[in-house]
């Protein structure tokens, strides 16, 4: 029951962030997901990321659609406003919210059913608008909450619990996003927190839509032998392509890399992402190259992970809409209402 908050006993020894808050302060209600569900690991990674970034909890807006994955915003950052909306429509909510108040940190959590089936159109258009938000797809290849039907991300040949094989080609959110001009595309694995946390941090600092596809196994309906979204299969086939280290603008960039081995990309707020290549000459700023490389890896049955593409310079939705820099919700009524004189002048043209 999400309203049972855990006791928040302050441990004196717990590390604190720049706001003097501990990781505990970024936790949420008790999870009601199945024990071992990948989504709970993603929740933990989110908690660590926002804690380390030192974001004021109430400046975060947590958004989701419907699904087990979409329940998770209740399980992190209790003091953040949350919106568990309707199935597949979270992108629209986030788009409107961001248009009205561009200063909040928008963190959307969705599932493969929520985003690739009913919500596919909205996801594509949110990407196209480059809405300034972190968009997570907790991807388990099934509809968990409705008990395990194949989702649109299920791989060909992947077996359902009852045995039948999926025959339809999967929709890969990473390739899709690259094709649609996404400005930040990554793939993670709920079982690899070390890789995920810096990606989430970079995604939150990125100005624009940061899409992170996270393989997050469903232990109850899709973690069996023959499933390509199981812990085992993912561990065996996940291949980091690049390793991204996130350096917040606050901190000095310490030269901890052998020269040339690293490619640094600076984000709007001055923070830096250092890319350490794993795959030979993989360039995370080359959209076409990334797309070609990933298609090939996919054909080889590999699950390429990492912060796969970034374009920190692209304009986000607020910029393309041409709205003032101040959040629209902060404008005073007098800034918005032209008054009677203007109304009378205007009406002279309606005679």
């Amino acid at each position: 029951m999400t309203y049972i908050a855990k006791p928040k006993v302050r441990h004196p020894k717990l590390p604190v962030n720049i706001l003097g808050l501990t990781a505990r302060d970024y936790e949420g209600a008790m999870s009601t997901l199945c024990a071992g569900c990948g989504h709970d690991s993603v929740t933990a990674a989110i908690v660590q990321a926002v804690f380390e970034l030192g974001i004021e909890p109430h400046r975060i807006a947590k958004l989701s659609g419907i699904g087990c994955s979409s329940k998770t915003p209740a399980y992190f950052v209790q003091q953040a406003h949350g919106f568990n909306s309707v199935h597949g429509r979270m992108p629209a909510i986030a788009t409107g919210a961001s248009a009205a108040n561009r200063d909040l940190v928008y963190l959307g959590v969705s599932g493969d059913g929520d985003s690739l089936s009913i919500g596919l159109g909205q996801l594509c258009h949110a990407i196209r608008r480059n809405v300034n938000m972190l968009y997570l797809i907790e991807n388990n290849g099934v509809y968990g909450l409705t008990k395990g039907q194949f989702s649109a991300s299920a791989d060909v040949g992947s077996k359902a619990k009852r045995g039948e094989e999926n025959v339809q080609p999967p929709i890969d959110p990473v390739l899709l996003a690259l094709t649609l001009g996404a400005t930040f595309v990554a793939r993670g694995f709920s079982g690899d927190k070390a890789q995920l946390v810096p990606i989430l941090k970079a995604g939150m600092q990125h100005r624009g839509l940061a899409l992170v596809d996270i393989i997050s196994p469903c232990v109850t309906f899709n973690d069996h032998e023959g499933s390509t979204k199981s812990y085992l299969h993912t561990r065996e086939h996940a291949q980091p392509v690049v390793i991204a280290d996130f350096v917040p603008h606050a901190r000095e960039i310490t030269a901890e890399y052998a020269p040339g081995s690293v490619r640094a990309v600076t984000l709007h707020d001055g923070s830096v992402v250092n890319f350490r290549k794993v795959a030979e000459d993989y360039d995370p700023t080359d959209r076409d190259g990334a797309h070609a490389y990933l298609m090939e890896r996919q054909r080889a049955g590999e699950v390429a992970t990492g912060l796969l593409y970034i374009d920190p310079a692209a304009a986000d939705m607020n910029a393309t809409l041409g709205s003032v820099h101040r959040p629209l919700v902060d404008l005073s009524f007098t800034d918005l209402c032209p008054g009677d004189a203007a109304l009378q002048a205007l009406q002279d043209t309606y005679r």
């Binding site: 003091q79 919106f83 909040l104």
Partner: protein, 613 residues
């Protein structure tokens, strides 16, 4: 035939995409500038070019501007519809046509005077370029009409001046075309006709404006900052106008950026979702659509109702069901909007009767949406939204401040022990809300799933029901805050007429005409839902009540019966639903028929009566 000064109607039949709009505007505005009450109804097809289109203009010294189906003069410019257009001239009337080519003999009518003008030939002789010739042919028939009706040339010249002032060449050719027609008429017909105009002073301090433009202005003045929409006739021009106005009126002086965000969504589901998202973070946001859009928005509307999030939705109604007739008017979405979405819901509706109320109710919609924390519909229709209506100048009270309802500030939250989102602290059914980002204590989890009064997830029957019962109370309490019905009582009235929205002007005129026929009728116009008590009182005060509306099934009657308890059959359906704006004659004839009194005239063929519920 005796003169009928400033009291007649005429109709112009053309092909869309040929630029007749400017000529028709010229005439209509000319009449208005002569101080004479006027109205125009544009009957256009749902395509872009090449199909028949009609423009009807009514001139009425008494200020009756509802549509009238009786045309004294018809200008038949479209061979494809000649037959039909000739048939529409009232007995003893006139038909203006292009005599460049001979008119088919079978079209002749001996009770109609045919006025042939060689428009094509004249324009061919005087102007070069096929496109220019086509366009100016329209101005030429405007010239003909100006002579037939005795309109003041300077007024028309002034209008052309205002339109083409900078474009000298265009101005000259238009002035010339106007005179070609005018001179030909004066030389060949005895002008003016008995149906003619004389300057009056009845339009001072009035404007000609369509409801969508007025509604857009209302949104600007109410302080709306986010508009999310998806194009659909007849609502598109509302957002177009909002965009145009905000480009001027919302430009930040320093940066030149906009104090507004207009998002063209990928569809209506997304549009209303964006509105809910924007409202959730505290903005005044709206969308505009038509019936098909409302159907698509249904799921989100239920979320707004249950999670108690403000939203303003303009439904500019068109003829349904399904795609229906996108360029024809109707009032067919009343029932759907009142109870939109699955489960137990009820929504606030504001139903303007003219563009002035589109402006007024747009502002009210934002206040009510925020006060009652729920989606509010403004139910306009194509006739109000897209046709120019004559209304008194709009006024704005500069002391107006938005009613944000119960929104807790950081200070208030700071002082609170614990915030509980859905607790009815004040006993008025309305719980205080918070806006994201304001204060940690204000944080809660907004959800469309079962929740208790603290906003916590619940599957408990009692906790769930507690919230639902309050919601019912909350919406019902809005009855006292929606625009009160307009009531006009006549001493000794025998029957009551209830109407809504765009039917208003036709009913007003009908009430007068009925009185002339010895039928004194009281009149109530519903302007908001849930219904104010005055509605039930009016019904109780009359033993015969006619409900005038423009849909097949009597949806207003349905709502009134359900909400007031009056038996459905006690509300006698009157009206038409074929897509044409209502005329007083439709109302008068049907009421007289119901009362067993002979009709004043034969009813128009193209306006089928409603199916009694």
């Amino acid at each position: 035939m005796r003169d009928r000064v400033n009291d007649f109607a005429f109709k112009i039949a053309t092909v869309n995409g040929t630029g007749s709009a400017s000529a028709n505007d010229l005439i209509r505005k000319g009449i208005f500038r002569m101080g004479i009450p006027v109205s125009g109804k544009n009957l256009f097809p749902s395509n872009i070019q090449g199909l028949p289109t009609w423009y009807e203009i009514r001139v009425n010294r008494d200020g009756h501007t509802a549509r009238t189906p009786d045309f004294d003069v018809v200008v038949a410019m479209n061979p494809a519809t000649y037959a039909r257009d000739v048939a529409e001239v009232r007995r003893g009337g006139w038909l203006v046509h292009d005599s460049t080519w001979p008119l088919a003999r079978e079209l002749a009518r001996d009770d109609v005077t045919f006025l042939g003008v060689p428009l094509a030939r004249m324009c061919g002789e005087h102007f070069a370029g096929s496109r220019e010739r086509i366009l100016l042919k329209n101005i030429a028939y405007a010239g003909v009409l100006s002579a037939l009706f005795d309109m003041e040339l300077p007024v028309l010249d002034a209008l052309l001046e205002e339109t083409y002032g900078r474009k000298k060449g265009l101005l000259d050719s238009n002035r010339q075309a106007l005179r070609l027609g005018r001179d030909y008429a004066q030389q060949n017909f005895d002008c003016p006709l008995p149906v003619r105009m004389e300057r009056m002073d009845a339009t001072a301090d009035h404007i000609l404006i369509d409801g969508n433009t007025a509604a857009a202005l209302g949104c600007v003045y109410a302080g709306a900052t986010v508009a999310a929409w998806y194009p659909i006739t007849p609502s598109t021009s509302l957002v177009d106008a909002f965009t145009k106005f905000t480009k001027k009126m919302r430009k930040d002086p320093e940066t030149g950026l906009g104090r507004v965000a207009v998002v063209q969504a990928e569809d209506e589901l997304a549009a209303v979702g964006m509105v809910i998202g924007a409202s959730w973070v505290g903005a005044r946001a709206f969308t505009a659509t038509a019936g098909p859009g409302i159907s698509l928005m249904s799921e989100f509307i239920g979320l707004g109702y249950y999670a108690e999030i403000p939203a303003v939705i303009f439904d500019v109604q068109r003829t349904g069901p399904s795609t229906g007739m996108p360029t024809r008017t109707q009032q067919g979405d009343l029932l759907m909007c009142a109870y939109a979405s699955h489960g137990d819901t009820k929504h606030i509706l504001l139903i303007p009767g003219d563009p002035a109320e589109c402006f007024e109710f747009a502002v009210a919609a934002f206040d009510l949406a925020e006060r009652f924390q729920t989606p509010v519909f403004v139910l306009s229709d194509l006739d109000i939204g897209m046709n120019d209506w004559m209304i008194p100048r709009l006024r704005w009270d500069d002391s107006y401040r938005p009613d944000r309802g119960k929104v807790l500030t950081a200070e208030q939250l700071e002082g609170m022990a614990k915030f509980s989102r859905y607790t009815d602290a004040d006993g008025d059914g309305i719980a205080a809300r918070t806006v994201p980002g304001v204060h940690p204590k204000g944080a809660f989890f907004t959800r469309g799933s079962g929740h208790n009064k603290n906003g916590a997830y619940t599957e408990d029957a009692a906790e769930y029901a507690e919230v639902m019962v309050r919601l019912a109370r909350k919406i019902d309490s809005a009855a006292a805050h929606v625009p009160a019905p307009e009531v006009r009582m006549i001493p000794g009235a025998s029957v009551g007429i209830v109407s809504v929205g765009g039917c208003h002007r036709a009913v007003l005129e009908a009430v007068e005409r009925l009185a002339a026929r010895g039928v004194a009728a009281d009149y109530l116009r519903v302007r908001g839902f849930p219904f104010a008590p005055a509605v039930a009182e009016f019904l109780a005060a009359h033993d015969r009540v006619f409900v005038v509306e423009q849909n097949r099934d009597g949806q207003l009657g349905h709502l009134i019966s359900l909400e007031t308890g009056v038996p459905r059959r006690a509300l006698e359906p009157i009206g038409t639903f074929g897509g044409m704006p209502l005329s007083a004659r439709d109302v008068v004839d049907q009421v007289l028929a119901a009362l067993g009194i002979a009709a004043e005239t034969e009813t128009v063929i193209d306006q089928p009566e409603m199916v009694p519920a």
